[in-house]
């Protein structure tokens, strides 16, 4: 069957099997940042934004995103022009093996899109579905908070007082 979506700003028509997951569909279409971790929607490595909301693509049937707009980490930025969050992950040392980073960055982006001024607790809430075995999460929380700061300072948004991490 045919699937019409907009992925990372490009309209695409993909040929898919009716039972194909969004994860395998995206990977077959070349979006390799979307990772398989558990196949059960438990680890978040496969998270992508579907119409702005984070979804675990391994348990999402591709057919259900017909007409939707999808964002993967490739669409957030590239090494030449990284997204503030990607830069923050690099600067904070939040990338270790990096396998869970795309999913985590997607979850972080969803958070900042809806709450540009999050507290550490908000960040923990937003990233709770993205398992990481390398980092202990400390640096990625710092990264998201600092990305929020840098975005806010460029957009001139006022910061509220943050809770302790």
């Amino acid at each position: 069957m045919k699937l019409n979506t907009r992925i990372n700003g490009r309209d695409l028509c993909l040929e898919i099997k009716p039972n194909a997951t969004l994860l395998e569909t995206l990977r077959q279409a070349g979006f390799k940042s979307v990772k398989f971790g558990c196949g059960e929607g438990m680890c978040g490595a496969c998270a992508v934004l579907v119409d702005g909301k984070p979804r675990t693509s391994c348990i999402t049937l591709a057919g259900t995103v017909e007409g939707s707009e999808i964002l993967t980490v490739e669409g957030m930025g590239n090494p030449d022009q990284p997204h503030a969050l990607q830069q923050a992950f690099v600067d904070a040392g939040a990338t270790q093996c990096g396998y869970c980073n795309p999913g985590s960055l997607i979850a972080a982006k969803a958070l900042l899109d809806s709450n540009p001024n999050p507290t550490a607790e908000d960040v923990k809430d937003a990233l709770d579905g993205n398992l990481c075995r390398c980092s202990g999460y400390v640096k990625r929380i710092e990264a998201v908070l600092s990305a929020a700061d840098s975005t806010a300072s460029t957009t001139g948004q006022k910061k509220s007082t943050r809770g302790k991490k």
């Binding site: 390799k32 398989f36 680890c43 690099v90 993205n130 398992l131 075995r133 202990g136 640096k139």
Partner: protein
Amino acid sequence: MAKTTKKTTVKKAATVKPKVSPAISPIPEAPRFFEKPETFNQVSHSLTKVDAMGLACGTQKYVADVDFHNLLHIKVLGSPHPHALIKSIDASEAEKLPGVVAVFTWKDVPRVMRTTAGQGFPEPSPYDNCLLDNKVRFVGDRVAIVAAESPEIAEEACSLIKVQYQVLKAVFDPEKARDKDAPVIHDEKDCRVPIPIFYDPKHNHCSHVETRVGDVKKGFKQADVVLERTYYPHYAQHCAIEPHTCIAYLDENDRLVLRSSTQVPFHARRITAQTLQIPIKKIRVIKPRIGGGFGGKQEVLLEDVCGLVTLKTRRPCIWALTRAEEFMAARTRHPMVVTIQSGVKKDGSITAISMRIISNTGAYGSHALTVLSNCGSKVLPLYRADNIEFIGDTVYTNLPVAGAYRGYGATQAAFAMECQMDEMAEAIGMDPIKFRQLNHIKEGESSPIFKALGEGREGVDMSIGSCGLEKCISEGMKRIDWAKKYGKPGTGVKRRGVGMCCLMQGSSIPEIDMGAVFIKMNEDGSFNLLLGATDLGTGSDTVMAQIAAETLGCRHTDILVYSSDTDMTPFDVGAYASSTTYLSGGAVINCASKVREQIVAVAADMLGEKMQDITIEEGACYGKGRKSSVTFGQICTYAMYEHKQFQIGAIASHISHASPPPFAAHFAEVEVDTETGEVKVLKYVAGVDCGNAINPQLADAQTQGAALNGISYAMTEEFIFSDNGRMLNPNFGNYKIFSTKDMPEIETFLVPTYEKTGPYGAKSVSEISINGALPAIGNAIRNAVGIRLTRPPFTAEKVLAALKEQAKSGKKASSVKAETEKKPEKASKKTPVAAKAEKPVKPAKPAAKKAKASEKKPAKATAAKKKK
């Protein structure tokens, strides 16, 4: 105790040393000490991880991130029984299924016994398994291999394979595995050990280690208190988010290429060649980016199967484990039964330590001996005691296979030892921190254990060159606010407590591990750094680039790192035993020093100066008085194109003659709900002495990650088995690893020391911090509510049961309350509350008696000791 008199043959492996004069020998003499520069330009700086931006933008490639035309998908049929003979196996229906390309059963493959443990050759692990066998030994064991056009077809084909099993009696309890009536798991005639070490598979007895220093019997007699307790560190899985994945294909020269998520590419090449009986030269192993390993990928689990399928079908294939397969059929931490008996005097001196271990390796003996040895060698040297005994046995059971897991035995033994340290302190009424400070090893001191316990052979004698433990302790105490919090559980339903522990690990396996490096210069002044060392997400590529840049005199961004490709890079044992920074980093210095010498020589030629007058700074060479200069780019261009042309480049390797321990002190603060048993870790502090951290940010990240993994292991991670040994919770929904909302406040800090045998003063950092959570949290729970938990994880059910038990035996938590209502005193002087609230479960006197009764046989010196 039946085995205590058994003699072990932990012999030195037969290595023939050629008798050539060192002056003319091409065999390199690695320096024992590296020079310390006056300042560091690249090292000791938190420079950006070289692959970070690619990882954050999703452009870095892992095993499965490349497309192959015509790719086959592999599924392996797993055994439903924990122990059974395959009486008959019929794959004809599976083969008929459209899309199935090949099915292999034990009848179709050569029987070559080997180990899957990715260790140096010859391995200290038994050759007790083969590609496919006619016997299965745990639920999930390989029965048949299917290669098909899609994973779905392969899976369906698996269900069509008709297998008739003769189910055999199974054994799951490691303490019963050596019983007379226990079924023999390895009754095959061809299982063996490749080195002369103890191995008795007929009694499910996989390995045995025994070491004695002094006379523990005498030591117990000298003690004022003798305590004995048994601890049960449990199963755990690594849970790297990237599952084990391997792609195999034939290259244009018809060679087998394995693109694999491995920590040990060179061992993977060797073991795959051995298993498939093809020459090593026919195989190339490529390690791309790896999504975490933690020891789980120090195992050659997939490469043989993928190699077989590609060689037989001449098509590329992929095998990626499912999460359930990761849990059930990959590797796990060895669960253990650790019994510690120790004697202590009232003045705080430890008179004797006896550590007895039964380690459960599951169905196969992967890392069985070495994990066991590490229980002693990475834990016992930490505290001074004149009389030490270490008796360890690894047994086979019909449970999932254990293997290497970050910590590697030290995790299990440190749990027991560090809880015991608190128990001893409590028994003599001494503050547990003071007790540790009194007894821990210090700079310039040695331990007989270093020599006595090696990895499959005798260890290497060494003394401690750097130890920042004291500072780890004092700083950690401040950060957790020990003085205010220790022994003050409060009075409500929720009680609080703090606990701590001290830790050590090693840095590489001395005189066994080797790493090698090749550096070549490019005409823009950049360098290709090709090395076998395996970055599995740790950041070792970056660390190596920093060490190279520091030695060469340029920036780490001018170093182009390519690691772990058996065709393209020199050998390295791989990423394990906390070795990469310490060992491979040494090889980088050796290699870069040679290259630097060549650069200086060319610069001297170009500038018409003497070599000794040339100085290097930020990628340029300066003549005497800095009057003239040439850039690295000009130097390489000159050497390539202009005069007496040659490639500026070198190869070098490194072995170590020591394994200097990093040290750590960990602290935990917990809150225990006495009504529900729920334990909440409020704060965790980890201080580490990893020598001079090459990249402090990466070292810190290693510490944070290891600490949280340890906390998660201590609190929630648990294998739950059915009656027939099937793991019932092989998924992240039911095997709970910590996520962001579970994490306590974590504080980590590095205590810099300078280790002279390490590259630019570095020691290891990767493993040590996973060992702290079990004892630190265990001790904190004891401090909060007076219970001693010996069977982790510390779930609410277990805590509640222990609290009820405590209440039943009359030692109510209220006694803790009564004690704590006293005016707070200075913690360092105060008698621990719990000590008064509840005496040790095994009171001192009977324990001492037991020690006497059990010490029937005279203590024997080990083979290692005799050699002295």
